[in-house]
């Protein structure tokens, strides 16, 4: 290949300038084919699978190592699921329990209902983390989590687990589908209608919450709309509400403002769908999403020119997500050496990724749910409508120590003395019922122990310290590892290293 690439350039020197330019372009083209055409190798496969999923085993990495860039990406996109592999918790199929019925309950009944809702939330989180752990399509789950963070909605306010589940299924269905379809659906999604208060918005005094966030956080970004756009759009969304009995979307004509509105320079007797189309027609929308995906997949510092290129692809594909992801995952920026290990793992990536990479499959995932929540990422309960800030903000002294403590517990094995020393174990304030419950569940972590012999056997085809290091770390370890460590000690040292926090 090298020889063939060199030849036309050599010949070009004997021709005129024009021919030389043409040939140089051809050579560049061939060179880029060559870069795409080579197998991505073990390190490339590890990079790809950790960025698109939640960790990856040695076997999975080896499986992808022989593929070329485009082959690997097509395999990921082609295998993307639109539904979860696992059956959701049983409560999602139970008859809908309306809000007003909870309000009518006696105090004791209401307390019991409250406990039931908390339990539903836990089941839902454990189910989702399990899906992330076992799915053959981790990219689907990563994108579902990405959109959950984008269209952030919290059970703290929505309360009903059933509505949170329905929204999660919607996000998964369109995770690699169409952004426009997803935006229109999310605007009518019951959990969103409750979370951003549109369910009660009427023409006499529209609620501006959804109208503002749909521009600022869901489509255009701050600075690309004005206060009057918010007020006008809020009028268009009046009457988009919730059926009290079924919890389904309903349109309340008497609440809707049928007058003319002007949003971003466009005027008409708009309803909510019209406003969403006005937003989708703006070039800022594709740029906003593309920039956010850069920070999800590449590095904390988007390159404006490359983001603009992706945004054009996204717009020309009518907001189909797969062409955009194809552009991102085959880009040189995604694969460049300087962007490897440039991102900080989220708590979900850290926890689920550690379990997946090291082949740990616990019976109960609720302790993992508590771990991600304690580390700052409680799925179905983002801190606010902007979602988790991510990046450097994942790591404060408090969360960094929490991460190290959780890793130490998993990799120290099932020593009973260790199990007793849980995070709040000897905390006098731990007497509150919530804390007791938590401690009880943390004891359920006894089967989170790392089985080093199984792990060793799984990577037996290429033994040796280098392979373990390359599997576990995205970049070189900071602390020098002492000589003579056995596999278990080596894994413990690697996960304790600051570099293990990177992906």
């Amino acid at each position: 290949m090298t020889v063939e690439r060199g030849a036309p350039i050599f010949l070009a020197r004997e021709h005129d300038l024009h021919t030389m330019r043409v040939l140089a372009a051809a050579a560049l083209f061939i060179a880029s084919i060559a870069a795409h055409g080579a197998p991505i190798g073990y390190d490339g496969a590890r990079h790809l699978l950790n960025r698109v999923g939640f960790g990856a085993t040695d076997a999975e990495v080896r499986d992808y190592a022989s593929l070329e860039r485009t082959q690997a990406v097509e395999r990921l996109l082609g295998g993307a699921r639109r539904e979860a592999l696992l059956r959701p918790p049983a409560f999602v199929d139970a008859p809908f329990e309306p809000y007003y019925r909870i309000r009518q309950m006696s105090p004791e009944e209401r307390m019991a209902a409250q406990r039931r809702l908390v339990e539903q939330g836990l089941e839902l989180r454990a189910w989702w983390l399990r899906e992330m752990l076992v799915t053959p399509s981790p990219l689907t789950e990563r994108m579902t989590l990405f959109w959950h963070n984008h269209f952030a909605t919290s059970q703290q306010k929505v309360r009903l687990g059933q509505l949170m589940y329905r929204q999660n299924a919607l996000l998964r269905r369109e995770a690699l589908g169409n952004f426009g379809t997803m935006l229109h659906a999310i605007a009518k999604d019951p959990a969103m209608l409750v979370y951003l208060d549109n369910a009660g918005s009427r023409k006499q005094a529209p609620n501006e919450n959804f109208a503002r966030e749909v521009m600022e956080l869901f489509t255009l970004g701050e600075g690309h709309y004005g206060e009057s756009d918010v007020k006008e759009a809020a009028r268009a969304f009046t009457g988009w509400s919730l059926d009290r009995g079924t919890g389904e979307f309903t349109y309340r004509r008497v609440w809707h403002d049928y007058g003319e509105k002007t949003v971003l320079g466009k005027s008409g007797r708009f309803d909510g769908d019209d406003v969403l189309d006005v937003l989708l027609a703006r070039p800022e929308a594709a740029r906003f999403i593309a920039g956010k995906l850069w920070r999800e997949f590449v590095s904390p510092n988007p390159d404006p020119r490359e983001v603009a290129r992706w945004a054009t692809i996204f717009r020309e594909a009518h907001y189909e997500v797969k062409p955009l992801l194809r552009a991102i995952l085959t880009s040189d920026a995604f694969w460049s050496a300087e962007n490897r290990g440039a991102l900080i793992k989220s708590p979900v990536e850290l926890v689920v990724g550690t379990l997946r990479t090291c082949g740990i499959s616990p019976f109960d995932l609720r302790p993992a749910v508590f771990a991600t929540a304690a580390l700052g990422q409680n799925p179905f309960s983002p801190p606010n409508v902007k979602g988790w800030p991510g990046g450097d903000a994942w790591i404060t002294s408090s969360t960094l120590l929490g991460r190290k403590q959780w890793l130490e517990r998993v990799f120290r094995g099932s020593d009973p003395a260790t199990m007793a020393m849980t995070e709040h174990g000897d905390d006098a304030k731990a007497a509150a019922p919530g804390e007791r419950y938590r401690r009880m569940l943390e004891r359920g972590m006894s089967d989170y122990a790392f089985d080093v012999e199984r792990f060793d056997r799984a990577i037996a085809s290429a033994p040796g310290p280098a392979r373990i290091d390359r599997l576990l770390l995205a970049t070189d370890a900071v602390n020098a590892l002492p000589d003579g460590l056995d596999s278990a000690e080596r894994v413990r040292a690697l996960v304790a290293d600051p570099a293990y926090q990177l992906r």
């Binding site: 801190p383 404060t396 002294s397 960094l400 570099a499």
Partner: protein, 383 residues
């Protein structure tokens, strides 16, 4: 330590307004009085916290949300506190509670996230700064070398005004737990990878602070049994630490009451009132009430007119509370003039929040606020 300080200066020189860092460092750093900040996350309804109960316009524009006159904790003939804040009456009666009304800024931004960024970085409305205003203050005027930390953020959440390389700041929920786990931090070194450099800086700050934190003394003061009460307890424990700490940041929320505000807001203010009262009592117990000032802040207040959902939408200026043994109690700023709302139905501001900040920088710490804030702002007389 020497190397750490050198690394610090190198970083500090990258901050805006930090040109004088090395000069300030060469001078002896005096001990520093404690500043406790309380963030009211989500945008607090100042109008129902400090109630203009005598203004007929107030009841008119808030048919569902107005606090009835007979329930207001009346402090003057015009204004009073929400009934949930009755625990602050004692501090008011001692004239150690200042109420600053109408705190805001020109060209207000009504986005939570942008507006709190403006407050955290003390920027202009259309200016984007990277470092928090307190991180810049510590870059200009570092705390003494012996300090455990410049600042401690209690509870989850972002570092806010302490974000950025200028401050040696840590976050913790429970100091004892922090100390137990600090042994897990042991990395040394630097990195060109920005994400890794951040992690290494956090590890180093943990190690430095852990060496100097000695907490766990028993307090007689009883703290409310809720997260804000626990955070107030932690703040008092930190205030009693022998090695100094200059700033403690607490937070409470969410005050983003777009719908059904009455109950939610009453509950939040109850936590705030009881928590601040316990904080005052605890600081008195450890004899630090006179050397501590406590101040609230938030991204914005809420719209004076209530909405149809029994809530309030994002507004602009709001009232804030300042307490401490050295505070001159009373009303500051300007009472909201409900007859003079702007085109969006919001209140104009009377006190620029950077003047509010400048008051703490200059009068509490003796730092030249122009070096931190980039311009001179009118200070208030509550200290």
């Amino acid at each position: 330590m020497t190397m750490d300080r050198r690394a610090f200066l190198k970083l500090a020189s990258l901050c805006p307004f930090a040109g004088a860092a090395s000069v300030a460092w060469a001078a002896a750093s005096p001990a520093r009085k404690l500043f406790i900040l309380v963030e009211l996350k989500g945008g607090n309804d100042g109008l129902n916290m400090v109630v203009p109960y005598a203004d007929p316009e107030y009841a008119r524009i808030r048919p569902r949300l107005a606090i009835p006159r007979d329930q207001v904790v009346q402090l003057s003939e015009q204004s009073g506190l929400h009934p949930s804040l009755a625990p602050l009456r004692a501090a008011w009666d001692e004239r150690r509670l200042a109420i600053v009304q109408g705190v805001g800024y020109p060209q207000p931004n009504l986005s939570h996230f942008r507006s709190i960024e403006i407050w955290d970085t003390a920027s202009k409305s259309d200016e984007y700064l990277d470092a928090g205003w307190l991180a810049r203050a510590f870059a200009v005027s570092p705390s003494p070398d012996s300090y455990a930390a410049d600042g401690v953020v209690v509870g989850p959440g972002a570092m806010g005004p302490l974000a950025g390389p200028g401050a040696r700041a840590i976050a913790l929920t429970n100091p004892e737990q922090f100390l137990r786990n600090a042994r897990l931090a042991r990395a040394e070194g630097e990195s060109r990878n920005a994400a890794l450099a951040h992690i290494l800086r956090v590890e180093r700050d943990v190690m430095l602070s852990a060496e100097r934190l000695h907490v766990g003394g028993k307090l007689a003061t009883e703290f409310p049994r809720n997260p804000f009460g626990n955070a107030a307890n932690t703040a008092v424990q930190l205030a009693s630490n022998e090695a100094g700490i200059a700033v403690v940041r607490l937070s409470l929320g969410s005050f983003d009451t777009h719908a059904n505000q009455l109950g939610t807001h009453a509950n939040l203010l109850k936590q705030l009132g009881e928590g601040l009262a316990a904080l005052r009592e605890g600081l008195m117990e450890i004899d630090r009430w006179d050397s501590t000032v406590i101040a609230t802040y938030a991204e914005f207040g809420r719209r004076p007119h209530e909405n149809q959902s029994g809530g309030t939408d994002h507004g602009t200026s709001s009232a804030h509370l300042v307490l401490g043994g050295a505070v001159k109690g009373g009303f500051y700023g300007a009472r909201p003039d409900l007859a003079r709302l702007d085109g969006n139905g919001n209140l104009p501001f009377a006190v620029d929040f950077r003047g509010y900040y400048a008051t703490f920088l200059e009068r509490w710490w003796g730092i030249d606020s122009t070096k931190v804030l980039g311009a001179r702002h009118a200070k208030l007389d509550f200290i």
